[in-house]
Symmetry: C2
Subunit: 182 residues, 2 copies
Amino acid sequence: MKVISSEELGRRIEITPEQIRKDLASFGQFGKKGVGYYVAELQQNISNILGLNRHWKIVIIGVGHLGAALANYHNFINLGFNLVALFDNNPAIIGKTINNVQVLGMDKLEMAIKSLGIDIGIIAVPRLEAQKVADRLVASHVKGIWNFAPIRLRVPKHVHMVNEDLSVGLSSLSYHITNAFG
Amino acid sequence: MKVISSEELGRRIEITPEQIRKDLASFGQFGKKGVGYYVAELQQNISNILGLNRHWKIVIIGVGHLGAALANYHNFINLGFNLVALFDNNPAIIGKTINNVQVLGMDKLEMAIKSLGIDIGIIAVPRLEAQKVADRLVASHVKGIWNFAPIRLRVPKHVHMVNEDLSVGLSSLSYHITNAFG
């Protein structure tokens, strides 16, 4: 497909065509009136807007079930995220590899982040260890943190943080079921 | 704390006080002008709105790293979600328990869902198995599905589905870093 209309886009992702046109227009003049969007051009533009037109180097801290699941998430690479290292303090898994990426000891964290030029740290440690890990990531000059620990972390304003809060998804489901079934 | 202002709420969750007042007002008359919100009453009202004032019975299908991580997620119970069973087709883990919940074989799925009165199925199986599992959940009359497989699933309109898409969090981080660092 070379061209797609906002109607067809809207149908596929369940958003109104008006909203799609409005959202995209706020980033520039992409579509062609009465024709639609050139697909390749639209993909490139969205990549540029989201900063997905480059490679980000990422590490995961904490290789429990969640960290291991994230290390095996194959979409990372499609989005331009290169998983460079994993960190844990469990001697039983230090030195192993998951998805071809090595698990390093926590004592190597600062050295590895600086020497490898890591952009983003993913926190998958238990709740009460998360702030300490965030502090070490900040001190090592990462640009962003993706936090999976169910706790609100404090980081300086220049470090960008996204909290992945699983209770949001479940509450949203609960809300929709409740309002349909009473 | 007995009372909280929209200013203080806004400061804590980084949303403008105006937005908080507007959002809450769309569900009813909660706050008291010039005073704020009574905390206990606000919590109760939000629980009611989200349908978190009752217990939902949930199961997880797929006990790989992700399923195991979800089974250990302690916030479920705080939100009123009771994890009742886990399902997998790997004979090596069928019969084991995670977080006091037993892993059953996939052949028990329909029977267990109906006899235990399961409300919500959480899909944590590989991408290409996800639609088949969704079909079986629908046929067993669950009310909602929480999908972690990175694929768009088709379910009838009366079954509510929330897709947990990890690429959203990572793209959001990429966007913010790009627009700050250029």
